[in-house]
Subunit: 229 residues, 2 copies
C-alpha cells in the first residue's frame, strides 16, 4: 500500500529534490506552498510548475501575510538583502533572511492538512549544514515538532503519529544536487533567489550557495542569472 | 520592568479571561486573533471589542483559510454542529468541532509575532477539563510546543526562550468564570457560540458548557441567547 505524504514545496532546489525523493519513496504526494507576501513570491510559479511536472495529487497554496510584523529581509522591504557574501560569512550567525518561526508555521499547516488527509508523513527540505545559523532547520527542533504533533493531533493520540521526514538535513548542497540528479529533478524549473526578480540575481546568499555548489561539482546550473560573480 | 506578552484572543469566555489575567500579571499585551473562515467568524467582532476595552497595545487579526481542507464542523458547512448534547456526551471523544492542528497553527503565528516583538510570553486559554477530547488542549502538548519553540527560535537558542502560559489549563468552566469575575472581564462583550448567528444559539456544545457553568454558579450570563434548553 502506498503512503500518503504532504510535501512542503517552496519551488527551490532543496524542496524540489525532496518532492522527487518522496515520490521515489513510493508516496502519493500532496504538495503545499505558502504565499506569505515574501519578497520572492515568484518562487510560487516555480512551485506550481514543479508540482505539475512531478504529478502531485493536489497542490495547496496557503495565503497569509508575514509582512504585518516583518522582522526579516524576506518580509520587510526596508531591510536589504545581504549580497555577495562568502559562504563562511553566511554560516556565522542567524542571518537577516531568517523569517521568525517560518518553518513552525509551515509545519503547522502541513500537519493540519495531513490530519484531514489522514496522511502518514510530512516531508520538509530543511538542511542543517548550509546556513547552520537557522534555528528552525536543526534536527533537535524537527524532533521536538514531531513530538508536539504526536501529542497534539488525533492521529498521534490514536497511536498513528504523523512522521516528519527531513531527508536533506545532513547533506551538503553538493550532495543535494547529486541526489536531485539521480532523481531527475528538473533544475531548470526551480527558483532559489531571494530577490524576486525575473531572473535570479546571482548575488544573494541563496544564489551564491547554489552557484557555488554547481560549480564545485563542475556542473552548469541551467537557470539564467543576472550576474555571476 | 513590565513583561511583553502575545495573548491569543478568540473573543470567547476563556481567552478573554486570559487577556485580563495577563494584564493583572503586569504584562504589556499584544492580542492576536485569527480569521480562518470559521463558521463563527462573528467572534472576531467580540475579540476586537474586548481587545479595545482591555487596552491592548496592538491587536493582530491574521487571515488564512482553513475551509480549503475542512475536516471540522467549524470549517466545513456540510458537517452539522452537534446540538443539545449533555456535558458527559461532549467529553467522551474528540468532537467533530475539533479543528485539526488549530492550536498548533495559532501558537506558531504567536511565536513568530513574539519573536519580532521580543516578547517573553505567549498566553493561551486552553483548558484540559471541559472537552478533554481535544488533543491540542492538554498539558503535555503545550509542554512539547514550548520545547519546539525553545529550539526553533532565535530567542530560544540565545537562552531566552518564549514561555507559553496556559493559566486555565486545569480549571473547570465554573472556576474560569469565578476568576474572570475577580478580574472584571466584560462577559457581555464575549462570544462563545459556534453557530455564528447574531445571537448565541444556546444549543451548541460551546453555548451549553457556558450556560451550564453560569447556572451552576447561580449567575446570569449577560449575553442574549436564541433559546435556552
Amino acid at each position: 500500500m502506498s503512503v500518503k505524504a504532504v510535501v512542503l514545496l517552496s519551488g527551490g532546489l532543496d524542496s524540489s529534490t525532496v518532492l522527487y525523493y518522496a515520490k521515489a519513496d513510493g508516496c502519493n504526494c500532496y504538495a503545499m506552498s505558502f504565499d506569505y507576501q515574501q519578497r520572492h513570491r515568484r518562487e510560487l510559479d516555480a512551485a506550481k510548475a514543479i508540482a505539475r511536472t512531478a504529478g502531485v495529487i493536489d497542490h495547496q497554496v496557503v495565503t497569509f501575510d508575514l509582512t504585518r510584523w516583518g522582522g526579516s529581509a524576506l518580509t520587510d522591504d526596508r531591510i536589504d538583502l545581504p549580497q555577495s557574501r562568502s559562504i563562511e560569512q553566511m554560516s556565522r550567525d542567524i542571518p537577516i533572511t531568517y523569517v521568525p518561526a517560518r518553518n513552525t508555521i509551515f509545519l503547522s499547516f502541513a500537519v493540519a492538512y495531513a490530519e484531514v488527509l489522514e496522511a502518514e508523513r510530512i516531508y520538509i527540505g530543511v538542511n542543517a549544514l548550509d546556513y547552520s545559523g537557522y534555528p528552525d532547520c536543526r534536527p533537535d527542533y524537527i524532533a521536538a515538532m514531531q513530538e508536539a504533533f504526536r501529542l497534539g493531533t488525533r492521529q498521534g493520540r490514536e497511536g498513528k503519529p504523523i512522521e516528519i521526514v527531513a531527508p536533506l538535513i545532513d547533506l551538503k548542497k553538493t550532495e543535494i544536487i547529486q541526489l536531485g540528479n539521480r532523481l531527475g529533478v528538473p533544475w531548470e524549473k526551480t527558483q532559489s533567489c531571494y530577490a524576486g526578480g525575473e531572473r535570479a540575481c546571482g548575488v544573494c546568499d541563496s544564489c551564491r550557495l547554489r552557484l557555488a555548489a554547481f560549480a564545485e561539482l563542475g556542473l552548469d546550473d541551467p537557470i539564467p542569472y543576472d550576474r555571476v560573480v
